[in-house]
Point group: C2
Chain length 352, copies 2
């Protein structure tokens, strides 16, 4: 081993090929003027480069302002932990696939900051900037980091709808509004007229969208507001068997429930049903408004809708590249979800 040999530069190649550094640059990076170089010279340069084992220095290139052909993928939570991987994996798959298809490489910003905290700005440094642009992923984001990113004009696309007051950002989102509305329609078609909606408390975009979809679905189905019950599930206050019985007693026949990181709402509902001796779907229909992240937590084949996760990943990359080329305004894209009819919803029994 020759030890830490400095890797050859364009100057070295130029010297060997008997041309100038500028010519080497023209040959290597092609550019618009790439065809202005004589074929013989081009060959000589390429040969010299191969012999020396020359490789382009990405740092220098991107310092100069050019592209790296690298896209970043930053996740606010670790993507890989086992319990969540089945949820995040399809996004990753789509992003990877599209990135490769466009002949870019993918930079995974996986390193947690020193504090164990995942932040974009570690020590005041925006690490993302080594990439040409970045796809962001994850539920628990730091808004201030996002705002900072926008302020810097760094091109990025979020997977999932994200709003930051005062700025317009790009994202690829699932159409939660439409999907939830459709779910209400489906339930109404099966005869359900009195619904309960079980939402998580924190006020996020996706929770708001689902609730909006819920209201919209009610309107479409012609169900007045007083026929429904909205219950916000605080983290600690689980749904009790008593509450569930109350609902059923008041004529409610179906429950819509939001999935969460830990499937807390679903698990709580199932436990309450078990305690109350209520059978799903015979006694109450349950529809899940999304993909339950943990497939293991519950064995049931829920009636639900699934996000086109892989496609979302792919589209995010496509939009990011559009952003890079046009450097136009932010753009948003909504993709349809697919309703999956499982065995947790049944027709409402004829009232005798």
């Amino acid at each position: 081993m020759a030890g830490q040999r400095r890797s050859p530069t364009q100057v070295d190649v130029a010297r060997r090929a008997g041309v100038s550094q500028a010519t080497v640059s023209l040959v290597i990076s092609g550019g618009t003027l790439g065809n202005q170089v004589a074929e013989s010279t081009r060959q000589a340069v390429l040969e010299a480069a191969a012999e020396l084992g020359y490789t382009v220095n990405a740092a220098a290139r991107s310092l100069k302002g050019g592209r790296n052909r690298m896209l970043g993928l930053y996740t606010f939570e670790p993507v890989f932990p086992v319990n969540q991987r089945d949820f995040y994996f399809p996004f990753l798959l789509g992003v990877e696939e599209a990135t490769a298809a466009y002949e870019y490489d993918l930079l995974l910003f996986s390193s947690a900051g020193s504090g164990g905290d995942r932040r974009i700005y570690a020590g005041g440094v925006n690490r993302l900037k080594v990439a040409d642009g970045c796809v962001l992923l994850g539920r628990h984001l730091h808004r201030e980091d996002l705002a900072e990113l926008v302020k810097e004009d760094f091109p990025f696309v979020f997977v999932g709808r994200r709003e930051v007051p005062g700025v317009e950002l790009s994202y690829v989102a699932a159409d939660y509004v439409g999907a939830t509305s459709d779910m209400v329609t489906t339930l109404a078609r099966l005869g359900h007229r009195r619904l309960a909606y079980l939402k998580v408390t924190d006020d996020t975009e996706w929770t708001r969208d689902r609730e909006a979809g819920f209201r919209q679905g009610l309107a479409t189905a012609g169900i007045p507001d007083d026929q429904v019950r909205v219950f916000a599930l605080a983290e600690k206050a689980a749904l009790t068997a008593t509450q569930l019985r109350d609902w059923l007693a008041s004529g409610i026949t179906a429950v819509l429930v939001e999935p969460t990181d830990d499937d807390g709402a679903i698990v709580a509902l199932e436990r309450a049903a078990a305690e109350a001796g209520v059978r799903i779907p015979q006694d109450v229909s349950v529809a899940v408004l999304g993909d339950p992240p943990l497939q293991d937590a519950t064995r049931r084949d829920w009636t639900r809708f699934t996000l086109p996760r892989e496609q979302m990943g792919r589209e995010a990359v496509r939009i990011l590249l559009e952003l890079l080329d046009d450097n136009a305004n932010a753009r948003q894209l909504y993709l349809d979800c697919t309703q999956v009819l499982g065995d947790s919803v049944a027709e409402v029994p004829e009232q005798s």
Copy 2:
């Protein structure tokens, strides 16, 4: 949107704070001389930086310094295709985890070359070099690319044992020899004395290692060579029911089989068994020498050994970082496999 606003530099900060660019650099990056800056100046600089939304330009920094804090992961096959993902995923997991733990970022070289062919040297240029070092993964490598990498002194670690004549390279490998040997021992302990060994034909390191382990296990168990039958499974020539019957007729009670990309050998064996009316494990015991990549192709819980894939990924990163720091010689690491007792192996029936 202000459009492509150039992001502020140290010069801008310096101008605003009324100091020189060098002072800004001292304040920002601290360094060894960081404490030589007067507290008042430091505050002024930090304030100016905050007001302007200054962030360090990573490209410029690494151009100057050398290290990128980026590790590469290059795979000779796409890691993500669905049919293989369960096999490769744990490696990826381990690599990602270790990379993050050491506060590096992970660069996924996913872009296929223009020809659809995955090569390290695209257009005579080594793309890997943007990273400080690289973990390599995959079965179907291009030896010439590897040799070139070594020649360039680029630090890399292979996951899986790889040999290139004349050069010594670093890898983290599963101890196929020991695991296969142990498997033979296990079979011998269950009374199996006549074995068949079904290998794939191409002459790879892992095939050789398994065969060596097979021989070693035979020696340990005191089984003479004429009690065994080694069958090389060509790609197209599947194992026939007739052959399988012949083996059993000759007293063979157990088959060791190598897993392949597509589980070809296992599937062939199972089909032959079905055709011949041979039951597994009642009539013949089957041990798989590794992890069957496709869990779906067969529902059986094979007796096998599994590679510590996640750990292999982690160790690969650790060794790579050692290589970076010491820039010493290549190093190799072997990790033990875990035997898994499934239901495809039974005690040999007492011969009446």
